[in-house]
């Protein structure tokens, strides 16, 4: 069984559903092969970016599958201990139910203290060790040296759900999409993972009648796509946020993003801390300067410490390039 599951994950081509889309079988295999007196499995349920709420849906409807997926992972990699790392809201909502399902298994619940950034796995591990919630230097990667420096498998809620389905041969290559924004039919949908965004919006009755654009993969770090660019797949965390082009104030939207990053980044490195602050400042003072912003974006993309910092320019650049310039 244990040998089979990694093979099954490989055949199913399952990739992490937290956003980074790393092949799940490889991650499990790395932790399995890693040497350590102890090993840990962690379920990342810290979902915290605006517009991303599919893990909440899964925890509400399929908590048994998630725990089952974790148990499989523990057996597979040889971990005796596991944690479900929940954001405060999910801890309150699902804590009791999860405890009942966990029963005698050695899986503990952990209530997240930090912000959005603890979605990043080394930040999450720091938090579990009661250290400051900020990313660690990589390498070493958690698969060889994670929680308390032991090999650690960190996967997203949906990834464990899928692993459980795959083990039971019930996996149908679907994924969960969080759809929100200027639309009537906003909620979570489970749909085939090979459907392009256009088809998803049409089939779920979320294709707006007015001019619109979509932010793909999260309401802060997701990139902007125009209505004629939606033949592609949503492969990160499956979040689609719809904006009515006629009603959306672009400056207000950018300010919201900047505000989110200033509040939720860890402030460790210069481009992310100071860069996000200056972006917000320009928007607050109504003194947006594209040249200045471009240099900040460059510094963030090229030199930020962690993937969050590197991802900040994405939404701004795509919005400016595709909509701002043409509108002006």
């Amino acid at each position: 069984m244990v040998e089979q599951i990694i093979e099954k994950l490989k055949i199913a081509e399952l990739k992490g559903r937290g956003g980074a889309a790393y092949p799940t079988w490889m991650k499990w295999n790395l932790v399995k092969e890693a040497h350590g007196e102890k090993k840990y499995v962690i379920c990342n349920a810290s979902e915290g970016e605006p517009g991303v709420f599919k893990d909440k849906y899964i925890l509400e409807h399929y908590p048994e599958e998630v725990i089952n997926g974790m148990q499989l992972a523990m057996e597979t990699v040889g971990a005796e201990e596991a944690y479900v790392f929940l954001n405060k809201e999910y801890f309150e909502l699902f804590g009791d139910r999860l405890k009942k399902i966990i029963g005698h298994l050695n899986i503990k619940l952990f209530k997240k203290q930090g912000g959005y950034l603890s979605g990043e796995e080394t930040t999450l591990i720091n938090e579990l060790e009661w250290k400051r919630p900020e990313p660690r230097l990589k390498p070493p990667y958690p698969v060889t040296s994670g929680l308390f420096n032991y090999p650690t498998l960190v996967n997203n809620v949906e990834t464990f759900y899928c692993a459980s389905k795959i083990a039971k041969d019930e996996y149908k290559k679907t994924r969960f999409y969080s759809i929100s924004g200027d639309t009537e039919n906003a909620r979570v949908f489970e749909l085939p993972e090979d459907w392009p965004i256009k088809k998803i919006l049409e089939e779920t009755k979320n294709w707006p009648q007015t001019e619109f654009f979509v932010q793909v993969d999260g309401g802060a770090s997701g990139k902007i796509f125009l209505s004629d660019e939606l033949e592609c797949l949503a492969q990160g965390n499956g979040a689609l946020i719809i904006y009515d082009l006629t009603k959306t104030d672009l400056k207000v939207l950018m300010k919201k993003w900047a505000e989110f990053f200033v509040k939720n980044n860890c402030d460790k490195c210069v481009p992310c801390r100071e860069g996000a602050f200056r972006l917000r400042e320009m928007l607050e003072k109504d003194a947006w300067n594209n040249e200045v912003a471009e240099e900040i974006f460059f510094a963030m993309e090229q030199t930020a410490f962690c993937p969050l910092g590197k991802s900040i320019p994405g939404p701004f650049k795509t919005l400016l390039e595709k909509i701002w310039k043409t509108k002006k």
Binding site: R132, K263, C269, V270, P271, E274, E295, I296, Q302
Partner: protein, 575 residues
């Protein structure tokens, strides 16, 4: 274990190095310039400033050279239009955090941030200073933290933690984590000043540095006598401010410079160290013979004393009550010497030049007063004296030295090595060994307690018993040794603690930069002075013998001038 030898290429130059070593370090060792701010050899790699970015051939994005580890065949480019652009962008973000006050900064003309900003043509006016209204904190009479100059590199927070103090903390202010003094009632500053020497941008300075330095030499009244005494560690570091090598002996140059400034007498704190050795050994031998209050802990480092009084009050009884060198010498000057010279001691102003900012705290201790007089009136740091010299056009490199004044200008070699970690203990052992066994310690050098290791352990057979000793190089190591003692009270009988790495030579009042390499050179400078001395034990110093004979025969006077007491401390720095 030696790492595998590999070859890498930096800017076209083939370099043999070890696998896994950081590119930044390799570049430095090979004289290749890569700008960096947050990297410090004493600290962990935090990689917060993002200025040291380089290109790795075959890879798309930039990498910080402080975190990038060398691999066989790796090709590094340290300068390119892309690198320039990224460095410029990050430097502009950094300088707009930092409020410039270049005329009054411990980095003076050696400011790396300014050099980088100029090299990469960073625009100082691109953004408004983010922290221009940020507060200035003062920690006791010792340290200033001007948070409007901080660049959030967190070196100070790390070094404060490493010292086992944890007084500097992070707090969220307007959504940004900023460095602040801790509000925790169980955490307080011990004034070691390691934050100061590890800050790359001069956000910390000593109290009064440099606004008030000139005042000290102003005579209030015509008949005031100004005496300046300077500590061992000052002589091997001050030269750095004038382009000399670390470790170069500037004893006589300092004396000459001070005379040019109009100081009446210049004495050597190393003679005070000989007094401290005498007093400490007397107490220590008694404790060992009577098996009382062991282990004895040295107490000449005021930051360590504050640490014990605040964090480990149960160990107060173990601190030797012998006063620190400059305090004893100050006391002798205002009593014995004043009497001999027929000078009213109230007219004497004693100024100590110290490698230390905690000494500014020490001289305020009420219990040190002698007949209502402070033994030492002012403390200036090594940096402050260098500033004073420069301001008055005195170039230490060029000045012709003159010896210090008599009778307190000629110390034993033991008094000189006080400035290096292990030196206090070595001086005491030389004297104690002779006192107890009647013989000289073989060769007089006590290598086991020298060097830059964090903890040094040794055993000396004193005849009456074997004495186990430990030297804590940096107060962070003291906690480990005290924990050992808590478990096994017999673990050690005599422990030296210096709060700063390397001892006083790495003190918070010393020139910056302050790196392991520089500290090793400063220490070497002190030991080479010791070796050249004819007299290398405190009790053989003729001045000491004379004062003991003429003045300290009166036990009450002796106690008053040479010993003190300590008491538990509450938090002094509340914000």
């Amino acid at each position: 274990m030696e790492n595998k030898k590999i070859t890498i290429i930096i800017d076209g130059q083939k370099i043999e190095t070890e696998e896994g070593k950081a590119i930044l370090q390799i570049a430095k060792e090979n004289g290749i310039y890569i700008p960096s701010l947050c990297s410090h050899p004493d600290l962990e790699v935090k990689a917060t400033c993002r200025v040291c970015v380089v290109e790795v051939k075959g890879k798309d994005c930039l990498f910080t050279s402080c975190t990038m580890k060398a691999e066989e065949g790796m090709e590094i480019i340290t300068d390119s239009p892309k690198i320039k652009r990224a460095r410029k962008a990050n430097l502009e973000l950094i300088i707009s955090q930092h409020r410039e006050e270049c005329g009054d900064c411990i980095y003076g003309l050696g400011c790396e941030l300014k050099e980088m900003a100029e090299k990469y043509e960073a625009d100082y006016k691109k953004f408004e200073d983010r922290r221009k209204d940020f507060p200035v904190y003062q920690f006791g009479p010792s340290l200033i933290f001007d948070s409007s100059k901080c660049i959030n590199c967190r070196n100070c927070v790390e070094v404060c933690d490493k010292q086992g103090v944890g007084f500097l903390d992070l707090e969220e202010k307007d959504n940004i984590w900023e460095v602040i003094p801790s509000k925790d009632p169980k955490k307080d500053c011990i004034y070691c000043g390691q934050c100061l020497v590890h800050c790359p941008v001069g956000a910390f300075e000593a109290v009064g540095e440099y606004e008030n330095v000139s005042e000290f030499l102003n005579k209030k009244e015509k008949d005031e006598i100004i005496i300046v005494q300077f500590a061992p560690a000052v002589r091997v570091a001050i030269g750095e401010e004038f382009g000399m090598e670390p470790g170069e002996n500037c004893t006589e140059k300092i004396s000459a410079g001070l005379k040019q400034l109009g100081v009446d007498y210049v004495f050597d704190v190393c003679v005070g160290a000989d007094f401290t050795t005498m007093a400490e050994v007397e107490e220590c031998v008694q404790c060992i013979v009577e098996n009382k209050n062991l282990p004895v802990l040295t107490s000449c480092c005021p930051a360590w004393v504050k640490y014990v009084e605040f964090y480990e009050p149960d160990f107060i009884k173990n601190l030797t009550t012998a006063r620190s060198p400059h305090i004893i010498l100050g006391g002798v000057l205002k009593t014995y010497w004043a009497n001999q010279q027929k000078i009213n001691p109230k007219k004497i102003k004693v100024i100590s030049i110290m490698p230390c900012v905690a000494k500014k705290y020490e001289i305020q201790r009420k219990e040190l007063e002698i007949d209502g007089m402070k033994p030492v009136d002012e403390v200036l740091t090594t940096r402050e004296l260098a500033f004073l010299f420069k301001k008055n056009g005195i170039d230490l490199k060029k000045i012709i030295g003159i010896p210090c004044d008599n009778p307190f200008g000629d110390p034993s070699g033991a008094g000189v090595i006080y400035g290096a970690s292990g030196g206090v203990l070595e001086s005491a052992i030389r004297t104690a060994y002779k006192k107890v066994t009647g013989k000289d310690l073989e060769g007089l050098n006590f290598e086991a307690v020298r060097g830059m290791a964090g903890i040094k352990r040794a055993e000396v057979d004193m005849g009456i018993r074997k004495v186990k000793i430990a030297v804590c190089n940096g107060v962070g190591n003291a906690k480990k040794i005290l924990d050992e003692v808590k478990k096994d009270p017999e673990a050690y009988q005599y422990i030296e603690v210096m709060a700063c790495p390397g001892g006083c030579i790495g003190g918070g009042g010393q020139p910056v930069p302050n790196t392991p390499e520089i500290r090793a050179k400063r220490a070497k400078g002190l030991y080479s002075i010791d070796v050249k001395k004819d007299i290398r034990k405190a009790e053989e110093n003729l001045t000491i013998q004379k004062v003991y004979k003429e003045f300290f025969a009166d036990k009450e006077v002796y106690e008053k001038i040479c010993y003190t007491k300590f008491s538990p401390k509450n938090k002094e720095n509340n914000y």
